[in-house]
């Protein structure tokens, strides 16, 4: 008996996956990156659209410096099992830097790339990156301020047109 796995190569799938990245915090950058990477690995056409704070993920001068803050995050635990960081301590000076360093280390320990490197991999896998026109205008940013592999800066109408029939995820 021979069983040949079905990798779906003959299916004319028109599945399209679009992720809207609206956050610039380190922890909120990763869900879209992980899922986009997984979708590309399954042969699905994938687009990432960066808007508002998510612009920091693709802005050359900022993309290496995303941070994670425990402020307002009651699920922030200490390295001791199930002990929570008291919210009154979260805004103390140095806390964001410390929390960012810890999170970056945890991500690195899993062999997961930093944000710019992860986007390199997504583009190499055939993913498309788009920037939001309004966010660019608000921040006085042009294409030269963004990653060189951005497919373009597009407006809301372009986005609606592009996402026809797509599965959308807003992060």
């Amino acid at each position: 008996m021979t069983i040949i796995p079905d990798f779906g190569d003959d299916d004319e799938s028109d599945r399209k996956f679009v992720l809207i990245c609206s956050k610039g915090n380190l922890d909120m950058a990763y869900p879209a990156l992980v899922l986009a990477n997984a979708a590309l690995g399954e042969g699905i056409e994938t687009h990432l659209f960066f808007t508002f704070w998510g612009f920091d993920m693709i802005t050359k001068s900022r993309m290496h410096d995303l941070q994670f803050s425990p402020v307002g995050n009651t699920a922030m635990h200490l390295p001791i099992k199930d002990k929570k960081l008291p919210q009154s301590l979260a805004p103390l000076p140095g806390m964001t830097a410390l929390a960012t360093k810890m999170m970056k280390q945890q991500i690195e320990d899993l062999g997961i790339p930093e944000v710019p490197d992860f986007l390199d991999q997504i583009v190499a896998s055939g993913g498309h990156l788009w920037a939001c026109r309004m966010s660019a205008d608000m921040n006085n940013l042009t294409e030269s301020d963004l990653r060189d592999d951005i497919d373009g800066i597009i407006n809301a109408t372009d986005f609606i047109e592009m996402t026809d029939g797509a599965q959308l995820l807003f992060i």
Partner: protein, 104 residues
């Protein structure tokens, strides 16, 4: 577990058709598995598949596409060219390994 005869060898497979026994694999079987999914093995394919098997032997789990790039030195783009559309799963299938568990 079903068994199958591939390239003249009787091997154990799972219900998706992936080999389940690391030591039952050989290059004849790999070439046949590759042919099953429309891939003609070239030197570049062999280099990657053999690396994947070596890495599995050492680590006990199948490398993700990320690891194939960073540790194996096979660029992501190349992986998609050699094993189109679904590189991670296709590489694992041909190498006689389980699908990778890692997310990235």
């Amino acid at each position: 577990m079903p068994t199958a005869t591939i390239a003249g060898h009787e091997v154990q497979i799972n219900d998706e058709g992936f080999l389940t026994e690391y030591d039952e694999w050989n290059e004849d079987i790999a070439a046949e598995l590759a042919k099953n999914i429309g891939i003609d093995m070239t030197d570049d394919h062999w280099k990657l598949i053999n690396w994947l098997r070596e890495d599995y032997k050492e680590k006990g789990e199948t490398a993700t596409t990320r690891r194939v790039q960073t540790v194996g030195g096979f660029p992501t783009k190349q992986q998609f060219v050699l094993f189109p559309k679904k590189p991670a799963r296709k590489m694992a299938y041909i190498a006689g390994l389980p699908k990778p568990h890692g997310c990235v």
